[in-house]
Subunit: 307 residues, 2 copies
């Protein structure tokens, strides 16, 4: 079979994924989303790059699903219900037809799992690594998007599940002696669309690392966060890894800064269902963290304030 081409990729692999009438079967230059009075359209766009956000040998069905899921995780953090997405793929010539088929299969699988449809996008060639981006659309009741900026002093800071499995999952995927189940978590995160954020004053998903993403909320809200890393929920594998490290503080800090967890960090006056409290918002700015009762030096927190 000849080298895959972009027209054929669209016609054979992507068109079957675009079944909603507003996608016009990908035969048009654009899609048209009808107005939905009483709702806001939540839009987010994330890009992933081969060798940066996924490994060159990762199977492309998992890469496709990861692309959708990192965007779905943003919708989850905003309290939005997934609706549809646009896709831009820059393909290296080296990606074979069966690999492209696997990519489309992964999209189809997660479209079905998350009740979404493909609305359009672009498919181009690149002399470099595979670069993918998705624009994801979801619906919230008008004005009800959970923002980063609503945290108030006194709110409880809470997370939706284990912290650090993304960090350890990357190590496992790179062949370190860590529970291989965590590598699956790294390759295929699980966006927390199952949670109810009613009552949350602010929320973000944990993609850059707990401390960085908590810092985004603190900064957007104009408050400080005081976190206790000993309160972080850990998977059995992460707890075992921490126990095997020389320094417990440094190990907890590595989990709290590693990223790719795709859990949610939220604030609310009360505990949200399914969340675990790890600290509290206070007057001031920045994120302070302690472990084993000791405050960790700010420089050790290792995240950027710039964003």
């Amino acid at each position: 079979m000849s080298a895959p081409d972009e027209f054929e990729t669209i016609a054979r692999l992507l068109r079957p994924l675009a079944t909603a009438p507003e996608a016009f079967g990908l035969l048009d230059d654009a899609a048209a989303i009808p107005s939905r009075p009483g709702f806001d359209l939540v839009v987010t766009k994330d890009a992933i790059v081969e060798g940066v956000h996924f490994l060159p040998n990762d199977p492309l069905d998992l890469v496709a699903r990861k692309l959708l899921r990192v965007n779905l995780s943003d919708l989850a953090a905003k309290g939005a219900v997934p609706y549809a997405y646009l896709l831009a793929c820059a393909w290296p010539a080296s990606v074979t037809w069966p690999q492209r088929e696997a990519f489309a299969r992964g999209l189809a699988e997660d479209q079905a799992a998350f009740n979404m449809t493909l609305l359009g996008g672009d498919t181009v060639a690149t002399p470099g690594p595979l670069v993918l981006s998705a624009t994801m659309f979801g619906w919230v009741s008008a004005g009800a998007m959970v923002r980063r900026s609503g945290a108030r002093a006194g709110d409880l800071v809470q997370v939706s599940g284990p912290i650090g499995d993304g960090f350890l999952g990357l190590k496992a995927a790179l062949g370190e002696d860590i529970d291989p189940a965590l590598a699956d978590h790294y390759r295929l995160p699980n966006p927390r669309l199952d949670l109810d954020l009613i009552g949350a004053t602010a929320c973000a998903d944990i993609s850059d690392g707990l401390l960085a993403d908590a810092g985004h909320i603190a900064r957007a809200s104009g408050v400080a966060f005081e976190l206790d890393l000993d309160l972080m929920p850990l998977s059995d594998a992460a707890a075992a890894w921490v126990a095997a490290q020389a320094g417990r503080d440094a190990a907890l800090l590595a989990l709290a800064t590693g990223g790719d967890d795709y859990q949610l960090v939220a604030t609310a006056p009360a505990v949200l269902p399914g969340f675990t409290v790890i600290g509290r918002a206070a007057e001031g700015e920045g994120v302070r963290a302690k472990a084993a009762g000791k405050t960790l030096a700010p420089a050790a927190l290792g995240y950027r304030h710039g964003n």
Copy 2:
């Protein structure tokens, strides 16, 4: 100054471009677009790759503006009014801070020119060439998007301006002895948002080449197109280039298949204001073209039917 970093790029260069309240100052995971009853939201997404869609030495302010304009051209073809965009940038480490500043300056300039605002997106690093994608939003009255699929047998096929300047502009940009003004056209196309498409039964912008994009309309509409390449409007530079070629038919065909014109090709029962008729829709399928009264062999048309 240290190497540019993604957080700083967002904070310093992109945040000032995101002034609409629905962008939340790029401090959130997502934007929220309020419902606009009576209107449909037209969405399109195009990607461009260094070395494929623009030249490695092209100034990044022009690249930014080209990125916006290729997407705006899609909105123009749909009869939509520009509203906002999302941006995904995969930056090579080699792109310097002044180059990134130029990029943001280009965005700012065309945001103002086309009355748009930045809503969000993603900024990542890549080991490969610069890859950019924009998701562009525009508004049309509910149900009024001009589609590719509405052409009917008997409609006039018409174009909004000179054909082939994109093709020749690329040659000029690559240093061939062609009017340098055409290189500017290649680097900075002009989306035809100034046209009124009322009465158009179908429309597409000319990015893949006149024959290819006309073919998209014919296919989506289930009709054939019969075009006369001698009726194509040509710029003075293109007319001079055709006159200098050994074979006139082949020269016209090159202009009609070259792409990057960013004019519009439309169908309507009557001539649309500002358009030039180049043929007619008929029962059947495919695109037939003639020049100097002779029908050109279908194989010579050189475009793909797949899309």
